[in-house]
Symmetry: C2
Subunit: 97 residues, 2 copies
Amino acid sequence: MGKFGKELIESMQQAAKHAAGKKVRGLRVSKVELPDVKAIRLSLRMSQHHFAAAYRIPLPTLKNWEQGRRVPDAPAAAYLLAIKRRPKEIMEAVARP
Amino acid sequence: MGKFGKELIESMQQAAKHAAGKKVRGLRVSKVELPDVKAIRLSLRMSQHHFAAAYRIPLPTLKNWEQGRRVPDAPAAAYLLAIKRRPKEIMEAVARP
DNA sequence: GAGTTATGGACGCCAATGGCGTATACTTCT
DNA sequence: AGAAGTATACGCCATTGGCGTCCATAACTC
């Protein structure tokens, strides 16, 4: 299997894990179904470095999200949703002059 | 003076305060010049409630930003920058189906 | 092979934020 | 007068952002 397929599978597994963890105990029940960052990035065929730079997300933060160590908060989730749906427009909108 | 003008002035003062506080001591030197949330919202002539709902930002979080109690982190700042430059597209992108 | 570069996974640490709540005040309505 | 809408102000605490470092793997170049 190619490395690309492998990555996609891992991404799926991660997404499933997220869907499962509903944060029953805490107060945090995400209203925005949080998008799979890695899937979005791979669909754009960008490296973590490039993706982070293009959308002005600190690289360590992006890594944390993709590794499942941190969960994007509500504003970040909304941002990612916007990126997912209109990648180009957003990239242009936040591009450095 | 109309209330609208007054709000704009306050918004300006707040922006100036932000520009001044460079966070010399801390580690946090924002790379994205953080946009003035209130100015953006008022330019769209939306209430805090509507703005928060439209862009999927929790209302208390929006309030914290506008009151200067909290500063949007990097991903949020990028999101706000995108909203500032392409308000309509972003609103449609994150709209609930 | 050895070295270099790019990529990304894993983990520790700390201050700052998010998210929720309540209370107060000021308009603008009915 | 009361109700509804808007906005400021503040407390609390778990969680996150942002930084750092180390390590592993490819894909080059010398």
